[in-house]
């Protein structure tokens, strides 16, 4: 819009402008509220477990009984069918086959899923940007080697690669000199997901670096005898920031989904630790009698990923005026 362009010209920074656009996007605001709400709930998991549900995420209550609507009921029946949602503080969303409180596990599981999602994204972004900078700036053999490495990872389906690495690491963990990570650590799925996602970020950023290295301001820096590392960090990297900001929420959503997929297949978060993927996997065998075991984590997963995706799209639109123009036509 002409008015906006005018305001850009009058000294409003691109990020402030993007924030203004974002504020006017109702869907993005709703998504942000939902996402922040989910994150806040998950962060409060220990408080809910301690003060409301009075049980932990790994505590079994199989042989216990609970009062629901004036009736005493088994948490898990004699043939192994767990109680459904009670809508009370105890077993608000029901129990799983081990008599564990689904609501407590949902919050702890969300925490684990978010930790894995954000950690994996951090790993992906760090490694991908570094690879893209070196490959795109130096070109030549460095580019050839790095690009082929990315091609190799790219050529392997992400979920299969994740399962292959996850299954082997979940048993033995990682032991590389001083670096020791046990097989049930959340860092294992974070590392795996972070690793398999690298090409999806590195490839587009590399293309952008190749275009940027030919720009006049980079030539000018070279003329002033600036070294390659300095040019990459002070001239090229700042110009990649908007791309990185757009990619981050999309990668977080992607990582959370991949974590759920790997955990479902037994190669992500290791039971009995909860994650939404493991909760869905655990619930499948009782889906006909206790569908809430799959529905509850499934809905949480959908809401989280949907809200991050809508937010990510909105950030992209806000940072890319041409995209806004397109949507307004």
């Amino acid at each position: 819009m002409p008015g906006e362009e005018l305001r850009v010209g009058t000294g409003v920074g691109p990020y402030r402008l993007a924030l203004r656009r974002l504020r006017r996007n109702v869907a993005a605001l709703v998504a942000a509220v939902v996402f922040v709400g989910i994150v806040a709930c998950c962060l409060c998991a220990p408080l809910y477990a301690h003060y409301v549900a009075h049980t932990g995420p790994l505590d079994n209550h199989e042989t216990e009984r609970v009062k629901v609507g004036g009736h005493i009921r088994d948490v898990v029946s004699l043939i192994g069918i767990p109680i459904g949602p009670t809508w009370h503080s105890h077993f608000l969303l029901g129990a799983d086959f081990n008599g564990r409180d689904v609501a407590v596990r949902l919050l702890y599981g969300g925490r684990n899923s978010l930790i894995v999602g954000f950690s994996a994204t951090a790993i992906t972004m760090f490694a991908a940007v570094l690879i893209a900078l070196f490959a795109g700036y130096y070109r030549g053999w460095i580019d050839s080697v790095l690009a082929r490495m990315l091609d190799v990872i790219w050529a392997y389906p992400a979920i299969l690669l994740g399962v292959a690495i996850g299954t082997s690491l979940s048993l033995g963990g990682i032991s590389l000199g001083p670096l020791k990570i046990s097989g049930d650590s959340l860092y294992i799925p974070a590392l795996i997901i972070g690793f398999v996602n690298i090409p999806y970020v590195a490839k587009p950023i590399r293309g952008q670096v190749i275009a940027l290295r030919e720009k006049e301001f980079v030539d000018a820096a070279r003329t002033l005898d600036a070294g390659g590392l300095r040019i990459m960090m002070t001239e090229i990297l700042p110009n990649l920031s908007s791309t990185i900001v757009v990619l981050v929420p999309l990668m977080v959503a992607n990582s959370i989904l991949l974590e759920a997929g790997l955990s479902y297949l037994g190669a992500g978060v290791q039971p009995p630790n909860p994650s939404w993927g493991t909760m869905i996997s655990d619930g499948v065998r009782l889906i006909t009698t206790s569908p809430f075991l799959v529905l509850v984590p499934g809905v949480a997963l959908v809401l989280t990923v949907l809200s991050i995706n809508i937010l990510g799209e909105a950030v992209r639109d806000a940072l890319d005026p041409r995209a806004v123009t397109r949507t307004r036509r």
């Binding site: 043939i79 192994g80 069918i81 086959f97 979940s170 037994g266 290791q270 039971p271 009698t289």
Partner: protein, 553 residues
């Protein structure tokens, strides 16, 4: 008149062709599946299993599904009556002409092979093949090879200091086989009824076979073995000519076992009559139990079997080399909870020797009630709070849920458990490998023969091996060893007279918390409507007796 756009017409035609192709391919796939399930209709059945055998090689197979088929392909010198209940535990001559002649105060067993026996490929059976088979079982680390160690020279053969087992003498001309034992073993005749001791040709490689099984002497023979996918047994055309009493010739021509990924699919397939039998070693998913009981009346039954489910605790590794840690783990367990996880298919118990087997203790369980506070106190006393523990469980339902329960219970007691879920196909070899250094995990034993030592072999120090060990917890207690050797010498016919002594051993190991026994399983007999349910024998040792199966009219 309305005209059709030619481009659109092409698209419509293309879509129609595509639909036709999809329909044809779908129909072909459906008929192919039907054909594979019911090949040569009326003479073949399909069994689904989500608990694949550890091996179907006769000298290596030891798990439930291995026994079910190996029993019918490889008849040993002695075998069991093909009957349900107690009648099925009766020893009868198999390839031998009669039950063994026992001399030398219970240390010499002599048997004679029937005349004219041939393997399924036509090769004549020699008495020396029996010796070869037993040597092969030791060489390939058969899971119960400790039962063979009383044979003179077996230990030297195992150690590699002898090239042959001196205690087995054979005469091919007279068809006699003589076993000389270092000590009297009361139930050695039962050992000779394991399919692992059945003869195989001496040209069979001394390695575990995965695709080409050696020929055997039995009503059936293996064919089309695809490792980790499926295997078939088909009727052995020459077996009927041997006229061995008590061994049925089989009614169904081909029995195909297909390995499936989960027991829910397996149960649904049998319920819908897409597959003919649910493997007896698998658990019925609780979610389907009600549906099965209502919709499969007359083709579903619970069968109680003598079995033991337990958690092993590795005595050779911390923290379970400390009795306080073992007791803490025992106090953390709620057997009632584990029974519910098994969908009601487990009767809680705390002793190794199950109900119905001579020697089952009647004493009160030493750690019967779950007591987390006491468990924590014991662990604190041992300065082991937060001790890391690797917990091994099978990655299949309900084993993995039981594993999760166990890991959570250990966590509540103050341990720092890490659950390791292992594929069922490699579970036993993984925990039975000393290099795995499994600290604790799930174990289970079904009845091999009706004697208490069949269960206590799991805490017998002679059964600790570098690979394929059955004593997963490396229990090596001199008091237990001394009594095991004494009690094993008593002939099977006098078993009842020493029942209290067997019970004492079991009570002792329970007090020491060497293992945490938590229940005895109930198994299911569950068929499609193609199999005649009433005539199918549920054998107390080998469970589904395929040789008694008949198709319904």
């Amino acid at each position: 008149m309305k005209r059709t756009n030619p481009d659109r017409r092409h698209w419509t035609a293309a879509a129609a062709v595509l639909l036709l192709v999809v329909a044809v391919l779908t129909a072909a796939a459906v008929s192919a599946r039907a054909a594979s399930n019911h090949r040569s209709a009326g003479t073949s059945v399909t069994v689904d299993t989500s608990s694949p055998p550890n091996s179907i090689d006769p000298q290596s197979g030891y798990t439930v599904s291995a026994g079910e088929t190996d029993w019918l392909v490889y008849t040993p010198l002695l075998t069991y009556a093909h009957e349900s209940g107690v009648a099925g535990t009766k020893l009868i001559p198999g390839l031998a002409t009669a039950l063994p002649t026992v001399t030398n105060r219970g240390k010499t067993y002599t048997l004679k092979l029937r005349a004219g026996l041939k393997y399924s490929d036509g090769t004549p059976v020699l008495a020396s093949d029996v010796k070869f088979a037993i040597q092969r079982a030791i060489k390939v680390n058969w899971g119960a090879s400790s039962f063979l160690m009383p044979i003179a020279g077996a230990q030297a053969y195992l150690n590699g200091t002898a090239s042959t087992i001196s205690g087995i003498t054979t005469n091919d001309a007279t068809r006699t086989v003589t076993f000389n034992l270092t000590t009297a073993v009361g139930d050695f005749a039962n050992v000779l009824a394991f399919p692992a001791t059945s003869p195989v040709p001496q040209s069979t490689p001394m390695t575990v076979q995965t695709t080409q099984m050696p020929p055997g002497v039995g009503p059936y023979m293996f064919q089309n073995v695809v490792p980790n996918q499926s295997y078939e047994i088909t009727k052995n055309p020459i077996f009927a000519s041997f006229h061995i009493p008590g061994i049925p010739l089989g009614n169904i021509d081909t029995i195909k076992t297909v390995i499936v990924s989960n027991n829910t699919t397996e149960a649904e397939d049998v319920l819908a009559n897409r597959v003919d039998a649910f493997d007896v070693g698998d658990a019925v998913p609780p979610a389907l139990l009600g549906q099965i009981q209502s919709q499969a009346k007359g083709r579903f039954a619970k069968e109680t079997v003598a079995s033991t489910n337990y958690f092993f605790l590795n005595e050779r590794l911390p923290p379970f080399n400390n009795i306080l840690a073992r007791q803490a783990a025992a106090y953390a367990i709620d057997r009632g909870a584990l029974a519910r996880l098994a969908g009601g298919f487990v009767a809680p118990s705390c002793y190794f020797i199950p109900v119905g087997i001579v020697g089952h203790p009647n004493a009160k369980c030493p750690y019967a009630s779950p007591n987390i506070a006491k468990a924590r106190a014991l662990l604190k006393k041992a300065h082991l709070v937060g001790a890391k523990v690797s917990v091994y469980a099978m990655a299949k339902s309900p084993r993995q849920e039981e594993g999760q329960y166990y890991a959570s219970a250990l966590k509540q007691a103050g341990f720092n458990p890490q659950l390791k879920l292992i594929d069922p196909a490699i579970y036993w070899t993984t925990i039975g490998n000393a290099k795995t250094r499994a600290q604790t995990g799930m174990g289970g034993q079904f009845l091999d023969f009706p004697a208490p030592d069949d269960f206590l072999l799991l805490i017998d120090a002679r059964n600790i091996h570098p690979v394929k060990s059955n004593n997963f917890g490396n229990v090596d207690d001199p008091w237990i060893q001394k009594r095991l050797i004494q009690l094993e010498a008593v002939p099977a016919t006098k078993l009842q007279s020493i029942a209290s002594q067997w019970a004492a051993v079991d009570e002792y190991q329970a007090r020491k918390a060497y293992t945490i026994v938590w229940g005895s399983s109930q198994l299911v007999k569950f068929f499609s409507n193609r199999i005649d349910f009433s005539s199918a024998v549920f054998h107390p040792l080998f469970f589904d007796d395929y040789s008694t199966w008949k198709l319904t009219k």
